[in-house]
Amino acid sequence: MRGFRRPLAALAFAAAMGAIAPAAAQTLQILSAEGDPASVKAMEYVVSEFKKTHPGVNVEYQTITWTEIGQKIVSSSAAGNPPDIVHLDDFASSVLSGQGLLQPLDDVIDRIGRNDYFPIPLKAVIFNGHVWGVPFANGFNLLWYRKDLYEAAGLKPPTTWDELLHNVQKLDGTTDAGGKMYGIALALNTQNHTNDTVQAFLWSNGASILDATGKLAIDTPEAIAAYEFEKKLFKHAPPGAAQYGNLEVLNAFATGRVAHSIYPARMVGQVLRVNPALSDKVGVVVVPKGPSAKARYASTLFTKAWGIPKGAKNTELAKEFLVFLETGQREIRWLHSVPVHFWPPRRSTAESDAFNNDPVISTAIAKAAAKTIVEQALPHSVPQLAEVGVVQPGSFKVLQAHVLAKMMQKIVLGGYPVDTAVKEAVAEAKGLLE
């Protein structure tokens, strides 16, 4: 023991010191939640291209989970050591810029072409009159259904809640090769996808978390109708709904065990990977409309954007890199790393042959998704914090504390009367907003 412990420890310490040695001055650090192996590969390609014109520059692409990224941006800024480029989700642009943690990026948008951007997605990154993020992809929450089962049962794609419920009921309990089929898979765990799902039903009935004046609106009759409706749907969900988040909803549908689910277009890649036989049996629409007079089609828009934190060491270089990344063949490569789900933020890219001539984009399921996105989702898309037309950073806290998710869990799993659960949610939300 005495013989080997010391040299070994010395070696390990030396290694540790080596691993923490400061990086070269011209290193761009990118912090991102896009850790899909294909995305990492695409970024490596972009970096190698960038290095051809910038030989002294090093780019470090760091990935982290969705749950952690906000915390990391905030805490590294607090530590005075933020990355040069950060991945902003829907909340980040307004919340972080509101706290003065980001640099405005109007100049970058202008260099790429402001008028080329789809208007609603661009709105998601504008706050207090400035652009805080360079959108790199748009995602949409969509309703996926089994076309083959619809045809067999003589069903039509749903456009109203009643039709959806009817179809869900009809297909629940049928059996196929894999075993029993469930009506619908929806997220219900304490993670973000549950927020997205509840919000989709709120919107489709004309409700929202806060109203246009910033007042809490989660207990309006339209909102309560949305919870009641979701509760009915959950009667036809797989039994483990309490654990259902991204992973479970995605897999339940992709492996053919449920007839419907609400999920972004990442579904395309997952179906092709684990169950390609399903590819031409899938239909997709936006979330149907509720019964209220204010009901509307509304698809959750996930704007994915790049931001530059205040205090970043290489701001100019970072801007240059962003323009490079978001144009030409580099952008196409990046968008193709998660086909369809990374929907182009600019019209010219979305219509280009380079984007559309891709083996995945040409599959039946991808084409179906693309058509729905262009015709229905994009025109009706709503950024999460701009649900009432203006950005309400207050709803960030309600979402972040999972108030709606906990409320739905009480209603669906806890057997709480809806009004009790809503009352408790209102009390909690008020405590957060005070």
Binding site: S75, T190, P238, P239, G240
Partner: protein
């Protein structure tokens, strides 16, 4: 102290002793005591995670939590989680230790194998358990259905009771080996004569367990229980990675509450207040335990 001490030797001894403890004291002061004091200071402020200085609000954060039902429920959840885990761990750990203390071929392999769960990183264990318990592809539900014991998959996290129970079982799987190992070690040092005498007196296996084994291992158990109580009450990763405190907060314990306030809501002051309240609760537990421990341990 060594005999025949001159004043000089005495002083050198003291110096040596101080030199021995100094590095530990310094590290503990810098890495533990100072951060705790800093947390106390933070807990008296309204401060966001990204602000370098907050606004002093006295006991405002504490008042907020002591009035909030969420805090008391998290505390209660923690008691249930720690208590349930401890009880199960103790029963399983002692049972396995007794079993593995018997002489049989392959015993040392069994000992090693039954220690495995303790060595598996928490993240890995949770990944595996979540996959095993999945309602559609999980082997457990498939097995139960295959044997015809259930018709529908069981929702292992489907309500407050199930979620807490499942969490306790997972937690027990991961941490019973600690109890098993320490009890096993203690069992090996019980003199065989005690049992031989008892057998001559005609004591059966149950009587031997109650009158010899249990008293002999009770000191060990008390200490293990104390350490375990502190650890289980502080457990963050198991709960966070499995349920994030859900459904509807039914498995949310104080460490989760602290994390949510600090890192999801960026409210360092409130997060720190939860941390301090958790700490006070543990001090209380510790005080009670330690008194009885010191009494039992006697000379040491």
């Amino acid at each position: 102290m060594a005999s025949g001490t001159s004043g000089d030797l005495e002083r050198r001894e003291r110096l040596f002793a101080l030199a021995c403890v100094a590095p530990a004291v310094v590290l503990i002061a810098v890495l533990i005591v100072y951060p705790v004091i800093y947390t106390l200071w933070l807990s008296l402020h309204k401060q966001q995670l990204f602000e370098s200085a907050g606004r002093f609000i006295g006991l405002g954060n504490y008042a907020y939590f002591l009035r909030s039902a969420e805090f008391w429920r998290s505390l209660l959840n923690g008691v249930v989680f720690a208590g349930g885990s401890l009880a199960l761990q103790t029963v399983l750990g002692v049972a396995f230790a007794l079993l593995l203390n018997r002489p049989f071929f392959g015993r040392s392999i069994a000992r090693g194998a039954l220690m495995f769960p303790y060595l598996v990183p928490t993240v890995v264990a949770i990944l595996v358990f979540r996959w095993i318990l999945n309602d559609l592809y999980g082997i457990l539900n498939a097995g139960l259905m295959g044997m015809g014991w259930i018709a529908e998959p069981i929702a292992w996290f489907g309500n407050a009771f199930m979620a807490m129970t499942t969490l306790i079982v997972i937690n027990t799987w991961m941490f019973y080996p600690f109890v098993m190992l320490t009890v096993l070690a203690r069992l090996q040092s019980i003199p065989a004569e005690l049992y031989e005498a008892a057998i001559i007196d005609g004591a059966g296996p149950m009587a031997r367990f109650w009158h010899i084994t249990l008293p002999q291992i009770s000191g060990t158990l008390a200490l293990v229980l104390l350490v375990r109580t502190l650890w289980m009450f502080n457990k963050f990763d198991v709960v966070w990675l499995t349920t994030q405190g859900g459904p509807f907060g039914s498995t949310q314990t104080l460490p989760i509450l602290a994390y949510i306030h600090t890192f999801n809501l960026y409210d360092v002051g409130r997060g720190a207040a939860v941390g301090m309240l958790l700490c006070f609760a543990l001090i209380l537990v510790f005080a009670v335990y330690y008194r009885s421990l010191v009494r039992n341990r006697g000379q040491a």
